[in-house]
Amino acid sequence: MSVINAIELLQTNLGDKVLDVVTFRDQTSIELDKNVIVKACQLLRDQAEFNFLAAETAVDYWPEEPRFKIVYQLYSLPKKVFLGLHVMLSSDDLSIATIEEIYPNANWHEREIFDMFGIQFEGHSDLRRILMPHDWQGHPLRKDYPLGYEEVQFTFNFDEIERRKPYAKE
């Protein structure tokens, strides 16, 4: 299988920076050290024909540490196979290098991850919020971000909540 070649390619070039290989229902995902992600993508694109970045996203494991997982889904058109890469990030260093140089379409995917999870991409050309308004506070897809239910008003706190409510007052 052609994914095995890709795993071997990474293992010979990156050595112990390849931390784990997870296979679940015929899908392979390689866990990498966060410092080698750009090199790994470059190797996979130039030497293993993974010429398409299908998706890039993140997962929050709050309150566990390491807290975040960045997921990359690469695709090889010649080999017709998907390959996942993932990198764990702990909450004391929320930054990772951008892969925009290798796959230009990572630009918007990384902006979305920055917007939704607050992860910084070093060297990114245009790291702004993309889906939320530019002056939004907080990062909605974090697990400690509330879903946004309305507070229930009781007699003892009615006025206090009323004052904070966003609708127009008379």
Binding site: R25, L77, Y103
Partner: protein
């Protein structure tokens, strides 16, 4: 969250506009989000030298509804209805992507009949989506009659969806393990009537546009992209195939039984607006071929898996089987659990690769759902495609990428 609102400053966008804009030599112009030809709520900040586009800065997110966040708070099956509302021209395709991801995550089987009906309906959905593309694309270029004809034909498809699911657009018809219910008796006749009727109509659209000199002037070599660039920028679907790369997930990584059907992948050469139009017209014809084959070979049998750990039992069983009552109760109060693992399932939506990244944590709710949507990728290429073209061409380029903002913003 409540806070002081601030205006966005020019400094924040400084790196995206040229020096000439600051000196007033070029003009910054806002287009959208309520502009009729931006196909929804897409906002573009244009830097113009006369009519010529120097740079184009897309601004999306006006239709962001937090679908991914909301799905995390619902059980796997309840979260399905949110996928309908994502790409609102490809409701069944979104359903399919999400249920395939669940089925892969929990290793659930799907009966043959359900797979065939899924193929028939998603191909009808593809035709409906391409008809809306053609309608709005032609309307943007001034051809009003094509708009009316396409919506007339789309109505027939929506009637078929209503026949099956009770809803014209927000269908939620595909469920984990199969379908909500079997198709009604009139289904096959309705679909056969439609596939008899459509080829002549497609010919009619072609008569109106394909050799029309005005249409050709407005579309040939407008917004071209090379196959290599299209791949680098993550384009897929008709926009990539128009650039000459014959990649279709239905062929390369078949799902839901697509490997059994005989169809071709239409491609273009220049990757311009005209080629994207031609590719979509041809795709409608290919979809008709797939539907016909699926109808001819439609097997009889169950339409939903009988794995009772994931699929609730039929109502009739509840009156005499204690086990059925327990399963019913468990599935509708708690829902089924998925293992602590992640899958990525891509399908070929009318706009390109629609991928669902689904991660479970052992509980009954998805821990993380992410949709990789084709419109998101398509909008990202607008600055590249529109550079040095005229504002009037930009309208043609946007419509040729066929973005659905609900799909891009989620």
């Amino acid at each position: 969250m409540l806070h002081e609102q601030t205006e966005i400053t020019v400094d924040e966008l400084r790196h995206l506009i040229s020096d000439r804009a600051l000196e007033g030599e070029t003009m910054l112009l806002n287009m959208g989000p309520q502009h009729p030809s931006t196909h929804g709520v897409l906002r573009l900040l244009l830097e113009l030298d006369g009519e010529r586009i120097i740079s184009c800065i897309p601004d999306i997110g006006f239709l962001h509804t937090g679908i991914e966040k909301n799905m995390e708070a619902k059980t796997y099956e309840k979260a399905l209805v949110m996928t309908d509302r994502m790409d609102y021209l490809n409701n069944l395709g979104n359903n399919l992507c999400y249920v395939l991801a669940i089925e892969k995550l929990v290793d659930l089987d799907v009966p043959e009949r359900a797979m065939f009906i899924r193929v028939i309906l998603t191909e009808l959905q593809r035709i409906a989506s391409h008809l809306v593309f053609l309608a709005t694309h032609a309307l943007d270029l001034g051809a009003m009659s094509v708009f009316l004809y396409c919506f007339r034909e789309r109505e027939i498809i929506l009637d078929i969806f209503e026949l099956c699911s009770g809803a014209r657009m927000m269908t939620s018809y595909f469920r984990p393990g199969g379908l909500w219910r079997d198709v009604p008796p009139g289904f096959e006749a309705a679909v056969r009537d439609f596939i008899q009727y459509l080829p002549a109509r497609i010919q009619q659209y072609e008569d109106l546009l394909t050799n029309n000199p005005i249409y050709i002037d407005r579309t040939k070599m407008i917004g071209p992209i090379s196959g290599e660039d299209a791949l680098r920028w993550g384009l897929s679907g008709p926009a990539l195939r128009a650039a000459g790369i014959a990649w279709d997930l239905r062929k390369s990584n078949p799902y839901s039984g697509y490997e059994r059907f005989d169809f071709d992948i239409p491609t273009g050469a220049n990757g311009d607006v005209y080629d994207r139009y031609i590719v979509r017209i041809e795709e409608m014809r290919e979809s008709l071929r797939i539907i016909e084959q699926a109808l001819d070979n439609l097997p009889e049998g169950p339409i939903r898996s009988d794995n009772r750990k994931f699929v609730p039992p039929p109502r009739a069983e509840l009156s005499h089987s204690m086990e059925a009552v327990i399963h019913h109760f468990k599935l509708w109060t708690e829902g089924f659990s998925a293992p602590k693992a992640a899958v990525y399932v891509p399908v070929e939506s009318p706009r390109g690769e629609l991928g669902c990244y689904l991660e479970g944590d052992g509980g009954p709710k998805p821990y993380r759902v992410h949709f990789r949507t084709p419109s998101f990728a398509a909008l990202q290429t607008l600055p590249l495609l529109s550079k040095d073209f005229l504002v009037a061409d930009l309208v043609a380029i946007i419509s040729s990428m066929d973005p659905v903002l609900g799909d891009a913003d989620r």
